[in-house]
Symmetry: C2
Subunit: 235 residues, 2 copies
Amino acid sequence: MSSYELFYWPGIQGRGEFVRLVLEDAGADYVDVGRKPDGYKRILAALNGEIGPHVLAPPILRAGDVVLAQTANITRFVGERHGLAPADEPGRLAAATIALTIADLVDEVHDTHHPITVAEAYEKQKPAAAERARAFRDKRLPKYVGYLERNLTGDWLVGGACSYTDLAAFQIVEGLRYAFPRAFAQVSCPKLLALRDRVAARPNIAAYLASDRRLPFNEHGIFRRYPELDSSSET
Amino acid sequence: MSSYELFYWPGIQGRGEFVRLVLEDAGADYVDVGRKPDGYKRILAALNGEIGPHVLAPPILRAGDVVLAQTANITRFVGERHGLAPADEPGRLAAATIALTIADLVDEVHDTHHPITVAEAYEKQKPAAAERARAFRDKRLPKYVGYLERNLTGDWLVGGACSYTDLAAFQIVEGLRYAFPRAFAQVSCPKLLALRDRVAARPNIAAYLASDRRLPFNEHGIFRRYPELDSSSET
């Protein structure tokens, strides 16, 4: 039996990808339950309380008798177990703070295409999406990217080594390049882009990105390429 | 010098209230910086990176050389230090999961009055707010309340004692009663209401609620009473 079971929707990177990146970089033994033949059924059973009443939505991780949800909670848990987190308390809590702030950014990216309700498709809420996406591009995107940039006083976001928070920042760059190529190109963040390359070059991450376990982005996940939600030009 | 400094906007309960409830229940020595004469200036300095680059928004807590932000991160930190958290690892991570899920609910409550942008007032985004609030009342509110209810198999959300997560659930009931009195009255949650009363009766919480440190809800915080965003009737 594997050390970890990840419960996440099949077919998309989504929030699950932040967990996968930590598990892959750690070289951890894990099963991506959603991609197994009975996976969808098992996810629904988990959401029905079968592995604990406290998990409401994927991603969910099971590790022995520990069951937890919430992306930044899971990545912290796995990161701290595998040396992908600062060892000192101030650093551990700074990393947790950054990871949760990145989770807020992910929520805001999601809401650019679903500003009204998750119960309806993007196509049913396009006028509000256009408005929310404009506010996101103009105000929120530069704010969050500037925040990550200012935390890069060294090679890594916290302390002297790579942590789960750096892996999350890598995924943010990949996602923003996919979903908002024009708006993201307008934000100067040389340190963040260098961090992205540093993460991509880590052997386990490079192997993962080259594997078929790394799904391409698509318009069912969090980061979606809807050109009408991006800036109208790069300049 | 106090053990804790809380940095949060003055004049509202907001997300800071979740932190105050844990500090108050713990009987901790803390300063609510925002309510001091130079408080607003000190908050702006903190947001300008003065106490660490990793904090982007209040609430922020400083405890010696530890500086952290993100509501559920702070309440977990304080709760675990003061016996207001499960002692075992599965319980600790279940509590963290529930607290972060409550934080998601708080975000969704916020977005009922600010569905498009935080840069503009509610009055500038009322049509989208009406739509988002309807979806919230119909789908999300029952989902989250049902989730809390199903976690109450005993007196407390996790394990056999009160934790920071129970204090957060108390605040959710108070907030929903204020902001969505009609819609919330339509959701059956007897165990959650009993938990609310159990928390309110805790000596330190009762003393806090009777003090002038507990501000009333108002239309500048997260939970706002806009009757047009609530259900049209209780039946």
